[in-house]
Symmetry: C2
Subunit: 205 residues, 2 copies
Amino acid sequence: MTSAGSTKPPPAPRRSASARPRGRARREVLLDAVLQIVAERGTDAVTHRRVAEVAGLPLASTTYWFDSREHLLTAALELAAERDIARLRAHVERAPDDAEPVALAVSAVVSPTDPIRSSLVTTYALLLEAARRPVLRDVAQRWTAAYLDAIGELLERAGSRRPRADAELLLAAADGLLIEQLASGHSADLQPHLVRLARSLIASS
Amino acid sequence: MTSAGSTKPPPAPRRSASARPRGRARREVLLDAVLQIVAERGTDAVTHRRVAEVAGLPLASTTYWFDSREHLLTAALELAAERDIARLRAHVERAPDDAEPVALAVSAVVSPTDPIRSSLVTTYALLLEAARRPVLRDVAQRWTAAYLDAIGELLERAGSRRPRADAELLLAAADGLLIEQLASGHSADLQPHLVRLARSLIASS
DNA sequence: CAGGTTTCGGTACATATGTACCGGTGATTG
DNA sequence: CAATCACCGGTACATATGTACCGAAACCTG
């Protein structure tokens, strides 16, 4: 359904006019709107008008803060990466020191509690975009590097002899399973499978 | 701009007018064009005009064979899945009976010889589309099911006690590694890592 | 070969979209 | 207090795009 009806009945996803963010805060509100649209309808659906509408801001605000549609997309994806890396770090640091390292590593990647679920499509959309736009490769690389560092350290603590290689396989398996879940629409707890994988990798080194 | 671009160097992907396919063959030519466009520029870039241009056919041919843009995309995904499944089956059947099952399973998934490389982006882009369009889910499910069947059988032959679960992890890891390669632009032989993973899964069951 | 049906392909048109323009405005600074 | 400047937001416009239309051509079918 195109959101634009013949007349404009108040679709009112827009925040109250009094709370309208101003100044630089607007930038982030716009990027949030982009991320939401990407998650719900894909990158195709990211248009200036839709972004402005979802953000509850006038059309021109998108062109004021971002030169072009491409700029809008890349900035949004950078923000997503940044946030997810922060989430990852927090998840690891928040854990008690005596936490089981393998379980911790797995839960950092596929966390049923954290609300990464809705942003997963966005995540993988970014990775795919990076395949086509070299500008995004840096972001994509830092992103996976952050994961590999965190997981690698945990696996090493769990007794892995080649933490980096094991981390790569564990992360890859998690990504693959998640993508398959997204595509099939199923949802099951992936943690047991990934824990088994991690344990068998560590054991057979 | 519809014909040969004035500034553009001869893109000439268009087949000679005499060889212009007619009838139902046209359908497949159009879908090939869609797949090529998705691979090179993403699903955003799939427009009726571009598809027609790449296929070397008039604009109206796209609307004649496909009701809508969405129909064009879903049909293209079905074609890609169908072809890849055929490729997979051929790969497995072509192998000698005494081939090492684990190596065979791995090479079926990440084959350095077959030209799936260029179509990988397309594959994953369409899987992501399936996350958003339920119409595509059937196709996506048959696709992965075909892989799981083939790999599972090989892993069982290699001594796995839970071939299905192991196949799921192996396939997921392959997907994850491939996506990361696409995103980072790197390319290395993934087979050794996946062989190690498969062997350790089998060993630790 | 005649009639009918499918396919073809040029064209038209309403809409969606990117983006520029420009007068306004409100906060900050001197 | 007034000048300034970053910021705001309505509007305009050229282009891209989806899609319908319709006469012509090719292809059957009898």
